[in-house]
């Protein structure tokens, strides 16, 4: 009887119930959207700046992070790689060389970041070949190089042209080379796009006279959220007097700080949104309680215990708000997935300001069920607090006064 009464009661005033349902649904949609876009943007920022360069975990010579010089590079040995690969969660270890060089074509010269990579592994993890806008991606054994689109435009260099490179190799040796451009890549980070030169690892070793060397080992992991734990495990296994393993958060504290700062602003916005939702839910519950006090009194007069009426009132609150939560989730889920696959591309001044931070001006959503659960739990908490009003009203109900209404 309780369930039947509660269900029929919520449809007593259809318009009000529909408005309440809509407000809870809208709240879920807005809250989940806001959080998904926020987390999606952070994930994109991390991917842009971390994924392209350091990886989520990076092992290097102990002094390298303080002074990023080839002289602080490491000699890559199978035993070192095997030691890291045996750590739970590590899926691959890729040696990488990074160095700065002066690059030139025709009358144009520019400082560039030279990245010597294992093309196959890099492509597998960062999908660089998908970002090629002209030509093709480099192969492990060849003399070709790939340039960032911005750099190629600055140098006015095309596929098949030769890029002249000049820099400092290992232990102060001169590094000089001329390499054909086989591809142009459009990197998500505009900053990297203007300065990156990709070359096969072995070619970079030859160019920089650094046989078997690398400036760092990119550690690929199965779950980014386990980066801290895996990093600790690596540091426990390697000789930390020689090597140091760092997470992306340790390597990019300014990015962490920026995300944290932005999150705080987001929390205030979500807080305001929840306040509005809370008042909406409370308003409905208040009206449903006040207009039925006489009915509650009558039911008590007939012999219904107050506890049963409280249960009915809790059912009513749960029905309306659970329906709202379900509808909100059903609306939001496909949209969040859609904007994850097809992110919103920002244009105009906003895009320019995002690019200033070296980020790609896109706003993807993050499909994370934890975000849905968080919002559902918060709305349920609000409902729980609002449901206290009918409970208190029923407990304190003065029978005669309510019956006289």
């Amino acid at each position: 009887m309780n369930i039947k009464l509660a269900w029929r009661n919520i449809w007593r005033n259809r318009k009000r119930t529909l408005i309440s349902l809509s407000s809870v649904s809208l709240a879920v949609v807005l809250a989940v959207f806001t959080r998904s876009f926020q987390e999606g943007s952070y994930a994109k920022m991390i991917e842009n700046s971390v994924g392209q360069l350091t990886g989520y975990i990076n092992v290097h010579q102990a002094e390298y992070w303080k002074e990023k010089s080839l002289d602080n590079g490491i000699t890559v040995s199978d035993s070192l790689i095997n030691t890291i690969e045996t750590v739970d969660g590590v899926t691959a270890v890729d040696p990488k060389i990074e160095s700065f060089s002066l690059v030139a074509h025709g009358n144009h010269t520019k400082g560039a970041l030279v990245a010597g990579i294992d093309p196959d592994s890099e492509d597998e993890h960062v999908k660089l070949s998908e970002k090629i806008v002209e030509g093709r991606f480099i192969k492990a054994v060849e003399k070709g190089i790939v340039l960032g689109e911005g750099l190629s435009k600055y140098l006015k260099i095309n596929i098949g042209d030769t890029l002249v490179m000049m820099g400092q190799g290992h232990y102060g040796q001169s590094a000089v080379g001329a390499y054909p451009v086989v591809g142009i890549v459009k990197l998500p980070s505009p900053e990297l796009n203007k300065q990156l030169v990709y070359m096969p690892l072995n070619l970079a070793r030859t160019y920089l006279s650094f046989d078997d060397g690398a400036t760092s080992l990119i550690v690929r992991i199965d779950d980014q959220s386990r980066a801290d734990e895996i990093n600790r495990a690596i540091n426990n296994k390697i000789d930390t007097t020689q090597y140091l393993s760092m997470t992306w958060e340790e390597m990019s504290p300014e990015l962490v700080q920026m995300i944290e700062g932005d999150k705080s602003g987001g929390i205030i916005m979500i807080g305001i949104l929840y306040m509005i939702i809370a008042f909406g839910i409370f308003g409905t519950i208040l009206m449903m309680t006040e207009e039925r006090k006489k009915e509650f009194a009558m039911m008590i007069a007939l012999g219904m215990q107050k506890s049963k009426i409280i249960i009915i009132s809790i059912y009513e609150t749960l029905y309306i708000n659970s329906l709202g939560l379900i509808i909100g989730t059903i609306i939001t889920l496909p949209l969040v997935v859609f904007f994850n696959i097809y992110p919103i591309r920002v244009s105009g001044e906003m895009a320019a300001s995002i690019e200033q931070f070296g980020m790609e001006p896109v706003m993807p959503t993050l499909v994370d069920f934890d975000i849905f659960w968080e919002q559902i739990v918060v709305v349920l908490l609000i409902i729980g607090i609002a449901a206290l009003y009918p409970i208190i009203s029923i407990v304190k109900l003065q029978l005669i006064k309510a019956l006289r209404k």
Partner: protein, 228 residues
């Protein structure tokens, strides 16, 4: 015959301002089973207050109300609700049916609270609806019934679980003369045939004319108690 209700030296005093108001002022009364009693008196005479106290909806400031051997003024709020459920039927002036339930569901409301089986409920409600002339209205919601029909459903609800007595506060106040007459016929018939005890508070002369006992209150005191 042993009285079903015994009221001993009952007072109800309100102290809303500096002045004390004695709504019920030292009432002593006993009502036996199968009575058809009307409590009458002008507005403010204390008849509704007295009825509320008999029904355990309000508690006396002093004195005791004993129903079938139980002093209800000593019961806790929870125990009082349970006592009402199993012993007292109510018919209110404004019918007070639950709008989201059908006529049958309203009538069997108390039986459901008492955990009667569906078969027992169906049988009892069928008998009652037939007896009070609203057969065929079982699945209709209150807002689609006339005032007279709604009050008959309220009577069926009060009678359904066979309480010890029925308290009816101005049951005809919102009814036209035809509906009033029909309702009173039904109540009188139930009183005579099924020995249902009815206690009314009323202004309505038609109710007073049909009552077997008339108790008149004035300023909270019984000024006359006439058995016809």
């Amino acid at each position: 015959m042993k009285p079903v209700i015994e009221i001993k030296d009952v007072y109800k005093i309100y102290k809303e301002t500096e002045v004390e108001v004695k709504a019920v002022n030292g009432v002593n009364l006993s009502i036996k089973s199968s009575e058809f009693t009307a409590i009458v008196g002008p507005s403010g005479s204390g008849k509704t207050t007295l009825l509320n106290m008999i029904g355990g909806l309000d508690s006396p400031s002093s004195g005791s109300i004993i129903i079938d051997g139980t002093d209800i003024s000593q019961l806790s709020s929870k125990a009082m609700i349970d006592f009402r459920l199993h012993n007292i039927g109510f018919v209110f002036q404004a019918y007070n049916l639950i709008p989201v339930l059908t006529a049958k569901e309203n009538a069997e409301f108390i039986m459901q609270l008492q955990h009667y089986s569906k078969a027992d409920r169906d049988q009892r409600i069928h008998e009652l609806f037939k007896a009070i002339g609203i057969e065929g209205k079982e699945n209709i919601r209150p807002n689609r019934l006339s005032g007279g029909q709604q009050q008959r459903v309220a009577v069926a609800r009060a009678l359904a679980s066979k309480p010890k007595f029925i308290l009816a506060d101005e049951p005809t106040a919102n009814l036209d003369s035809h509906s009033t007459s029909d309702l009173l016929d039904i109540m009188r018939q139930l009183n005579e045939e099924e020995q249902v005890t009815f206690i009314f508070s009323t202004h309505d002369q038609r109710v007073i004319d049909r009552a077997k006992r008339i108790i008149t209150l004035e300023d909270g005191k019984i000024i006359s108690d006439i058995e016809k």
